[in-house]
């Protein structure tokens, strides 16, 4: 439960001629994780891929490129027969490729056309307001035509010099078209240059500019439409070929993975050596799988896991079904090392515990619990499921604490002192006096009136949680370095904690103070021996870490304050229940709903984060290293195809 599954290191040796058969068998069995071989100058070399992996790779590259172009995503699909997929693959791939190429060509042709139209249009724009057929701008023997931008109307300057000319001027665009006799051309151009004439090219078409432009715009719209149609066609290709692409990608990936297995394997001239990991419980199965695939010609042997190799051992969790969602929280931080305790089962208890203690409101618990169950029905993504389960655990805990605290959406259920509760006649009962701050413990527990007590209680819970962490640390160090180091490195902290407790009891007069102080001194000496001066520097962290647990009450109170402020705003300031129902009632309800929606969202984030942080920082800091590799055996679970 607190340890990952046992692993065995297995080495498979055989003649190269049976390599393919062995790899095939291992792939199908899906229980052996290969360790990549690194060339180390021992004469063994990385093997070379088998089969026609080059051809297959080429197809995969093509398929994946098409898939990303069509935007094909993983989805649920009916499983196809592998042989069928392989048989049709080439033909279908060619068909798809040619369909795509045809469309891509068409599209690039359209794009080029569009660009052409655009540039012609730009050329036409200056002529829009000059009502003259573009054909009339050229083809004269005795006339010259000046067309261009000018800064002002050139009529006056030109008429000062020559008398016979004709011109069109568009003041808006600042464009002029001026017709004059060829003989006068020198004079005219001189006159024009005085008004900043810059020549522009006359497009090589005929017709009225305005009609030409509207024609072009029509054509443009047509092309855009055609392009949209092409896009839609490509979209429909996605629907038509998605299954084929997903299935063939899978089939070919499996082929290459098998073919490329030798790249991880050590080989000599005639033999191969496969090194890797198998669950100890599966070792016999591995043995028989290899034996039957190779007629006993390949040999499997179990190797001792050397101390250096411990970090390499892949880790597979071994938790009860109830605690398994919390493996997601472990992975979020880092998977445990093989030689380390797996604290999933502890988090299974403490995470919802802290969450519930912080939130502790029946109303929010009910809302979030419903939400979690609905989401669980709707969402089928594997990765989200554990998180939803965790949410459910947390809400159950919140519900329990909600009963204990007697809170519903920030309203107290029971009346307290003179302020009334939500349930009429439900009175708060005084139980006994708290030893802290002169407060009285009641049922339901009114957190906001028991601040001192709650701070003390959460501090103590933290103290105990930390002690658990040190105990885990003790076991981890013992497993890795032996019991002596464990006593000095982690045991010392436990002794110090014990010393602190005894000293406090001494200060309260139940015990002689000397016992506690003595224990403290012993703990300190052990610590210096175990961790050196670093340990002493870390000593204040014991206090700050325990104090950190007071967040349980602090964050909880802030959540209550938000909720009761919303309630006060809605049903105290905006509208009082009992007064006449009207417009303000609606406003009050809106404020109430909006406020509590906000607080519900905060109710997932704040308690979740703080509870998580107490695990990761305070608790894990005492013992956890992590860094384990995920156990992912060589093989594949087919989604789109079957044999």
């Amino acid at each position: 439960m607190l340890e990952p599954k046992r692993m065995s290191r297995a080495v498979i040796v055989g003649h190269k001629s049976i390599l393919e058969a062995t790899v095939d068998a291992l792939y199908t069995a899906n229980l052996f994780q290969m360790e990549d071989f690194v060339e180390d100058g021992s004469g063994l070399e990385i093997g070379t891929p088998t089969g026609n992996v080059s051809e297959v790779s080429k197809k995969i590259v093509q398929i994946r490129s098409i898939a990303s172009m069509l935007g094909i995503k993983d989805k649920e699909a009916k499983k196809q027969n592998e042989n069928d997929v392989l048989r049709d693959l080439d033909a279908k791939l060619n068909e798809l490729d040619s369909e795509l190429t045809r469309r891509a060509d068409k599209k690039s042709k359209l794009e080029a056309e569009l660009k052409d139209i655009d540039s012609t249009k730009k050329e036409l724009v200056p002529f829009t307001n000059i009502d003259l057929d573009l054909g009339l701008y050229r083809g004269y023997d005795s006339l010259v035509v000046f067309v261009g931008h000018v800064k002002e109307d050139p009529g006056v300057v030109v008429s000062n010099r020559i008398s016979s000319f004709d011109y069109f001027y568009d003041p808006k665009e600042g464009v002029v078209a001026l017709f004059a006799a060829k003989a006068d051309s020198g004079v005219v151009s001189e006159a024009l240059s005085s008004v900043g004439f810059r020549e522009i090219r006359v497009p090589d078409v005929s017709g009225m500019p305005a009609t030409l432009i509207s024609d072009l715009e029509k054509k443009e719209a047509e092309i855009v439409q055609q392009m949209a149609a092409l896009d839609a066609e490509v979209e429909s290709l996605n629907d038509k070929y998605a299954d084929f692409i997903l299935a063939s990608d899978e089939v070919l990936s499996i082929q290459t993975e098998k073919s490329e297995a030798p790249l991880k394997i050590a080989t000599s001239d005639s033999t191969f050596i496969i090194d890797g990991w198998v669950l100890s419980e599966d070792y016999d199965k591995l043995n028989s799988v290899v034996e039957s695939a190779t007629n006993g010609r390949a040999f499997v042997s179990e190797q001792e896991i050397s101390h250096e190799a411990e970090d390499l051992v892949p880790v597979e969790y071994n938790n009860s079904k109830a605690a398994s969602p919390f493996e997601a929280i472990m992975d979020l931080y880092s998977r445990p090392n093989y030689k380390e305790l797996d604290p999933s089962s502890i988090i299974f208890i403490t995470f919802p515990l802290f969450y519930g203690m912080i939130l502790g409101d029946m109303g929010y618990a009910a809302i979030l619990l419903t939400l979690a169950f609905v989401l669980k029905k709707v969402i089928s993504i594997e990765a989200v499921k554990p998180l939803l389960n965790i949410l459910i655990y947390c809400q159950i805990s919140t519900l329990i604490f909600g009963v204990l605290y007697g809170e519903f959406l920030g309203f107290p259920l029971a009346s307290f002192h003179s302020s009334p509760g939500l349930i009429p006649g439900f009175e708060t009962i005084d139980l006994f006096a708290s030893p802290f701050g002169g407060e009285v413990i009641t049922y339901p527990v009114h957190r906001s009136h028991l601040v001192m007590t709650m701070i003390a209680v959460t501090f103590l819970i933290g103290f105990i949680h930390l002690a658990t962490g040190f105990m885990f640390g003790f076991i981890n160090v013992k497993k890795q370095h032996g019991v002596v180091e464990a006593i000095f490195e982690k045991g010392s902290w436990l002794v110090i904690q014990l010393g602190l407790v005894l000293a406090v009891l001494g200060a309260l007069g139940t015990l002689p103070v000397e016992i506690g102080v003595g224990a403290l001194v012993i703990g300190l000496i052990m610590l210096v021996k175990g961790e050196g001066i670093n340990g002493v520097v870390e000593l204040p962290a014991l206090l700050s870490n325990s104090l950190s647990y007071t967040r349980v009450i602090a964050v909880g109170l802030s959540s209550i304050y938000i909720a009761s402020t919303v309630n006060e705003m809605a049903f105290g300031m905006i509208w009082q229940p009992g007064t006449s129902i009207g417009f303000m009632t609606i406003i009050a309800i809106i404020v109430f709903l909006a406020g509590h929606t906000l607080n519900t969202v905060l109710s997932i984030i704040a308690p979740g984060l703080h509870s998580l942080r107490l695990q990761y920082v305070e608790f894990f800091g005492k013992f956890y290293k992590g860094g384990g590799r995920k156990y992912s055996p060589f093989g594949y679970t087919r989604k789109y195809t079957e044999d």
Partner: protein, 363 residues
């Protein structure tokens, strides 16, 4: 509200796109951690022996399964074989580096952008060279890495021009025009040399503008780069027995270990003494076992020098985690990875021996 307005005045338009990114404060924490995370995606050294055992198609597929996926997917529609990988590698390099410009702000952005102008110059040189030897537009574009300030389409347009005159007249707006103007069709070496020198001069100008401690770090980084570059040129000159002082023109000023005076002195020495002289420099440890008076090819020295540069960048990025150095280190490593992949691909395509290819790799 007054406070808000004050704050707004303090960061004038720091969120706007474009040039104003270069103003305002730098976002070191964000950029350096992101770059660190990017560095994790580079291939580990164990990958290369495996790549050596693959053929071209396999390699294409292999790198398609990594961070190069987008580039390969895109290029696979139009290219095949070696062209596919070459184009994809360049595309990926360009996308990766322009991403660095996009995610950085303030001074950091300024320095990175200036550093990446290296690619603008490289591309301009490539196009001119391509025009010089009448390469096709496709051939030229295959070597373009649009990682600098200019866009890929701009280079595509330049490359499609028929003559170098048209290319240069198209660049009339660019800061390189005064140099390019002098190109007469047969002084390409000189132009390239001038471009390089301008690059480093500009770089040092920008470094001079920077205010933070990055200025010093970035300057050091650049100076080490210049050292390595000069040393490679020196090796090439020495190897072909050229000692004429006029070759000093090829050297770039501003190295950290070797000043121009040092280089000039070394240029004059016989090969043995030159090597003996090198023992005094920190790069010697890296090259000592491959340098000798009767060495045949320089390629191994060059790959060792590159390795020396990488190593020095990595070690200083450990010293200054929240500075520009990790980013420069990443850029160098990424460039090196692309280079290595290209070496393997080209080596395989040309049927070169495994040992020879391995010698060229900088791992």
């Amino acid at each position: 509200m007054e406070l808000l307005q004050k704050l707004r005045r303090y960061y004038p338009g720091s969120r706007k796109k474009g040039g104003s990114r270069k103003k305002g404060s730098s976002n070191y924490a964000y950029t350096t951690t992101r770059v660190r995370a990017m560095k994790v995606h580079l291939f580990p050294k164990e990958t290369y022996p495996r790549l050596m055992n693959m053929d071209l198609n396999e390699m294409t597929r292999f790198i398609q399964e990594s961070k190069y996926k987008d580039a390969i997917d895109e290029m696979a529609r139009n290219y095949k074989g070696v062209d596919l990988i070459e184009n994809a590698l360049n595309r990926n390099l360009a996308v990766t580096f322009t991403k660095l410009i996009d995610i950085s702000e303030g001074e950091l952005n300024l320095l990175i952008s200036e550093q990446l102008k290296e690619y603008d110059i490289w591309n301009i040189k490539t196009i001119l060279r391509g025009k010089y030897c009448n390469a096709s537009t496709e051939e030229i574009m295959e070597a373009i890495v649009a990682a600098g300030s200019m866009h890929y389409t701009e280079f595509a347009e330049l490359a499609s021009k028929d003559t170098y005159q048209e290319v240069i007249s198209e660049l009339v707006e660019s800061e390189y025009y005064p140099i390019l103007e002098q190109y007469t069709g047969d002084n390409l070496d000189d132009i390239e040399n001038q471009l390089d020198k301008k690059y480093y001069a500009d770089l040092f100008d920008v470094i001079g503008l920077a205010k933070s401690k990055d200025r010093k770090l970035f300057a050091n980084f650049t100076r080490t780069g210049i050292d390595v570059k000069n040393l490679m040129t020196l090796f090439r000159l020495k190897k072909s027995g050229m000692t004429d002082p006029e070759y000093m023109d090829l050297m770039i000023d501003g190295g950290s270990q070797m000043t121009l005076v040092d280089i000039e002195r070394m240029l004059d020495l016989p090969f043995e003494e030159f090597i003996a002289e090198l023992e005094n420099y920190p790069c010697w440890d890296e090259i000592s076992d491959v340098v000798s008076s009767d060495m045949e090819s320089l390629s191994i020295v060059e790959s060792r020098l590159k390795k020396y540069r990488l190593k020095s960048a990595i070690s200083s990025s450990r010293f200054y985690p929240l500075s520009i150095v990790p980013i420069m280190d990443y850029m160098l490593s990424k460039k090196n990875e692309v280079n290595n992949l290209r070496i393997i691909i080209r080596g395989k395509a040309a049927n070169l021996g495994d040992d020879f290819i391995r010698e060229q790799l900088v791992i």
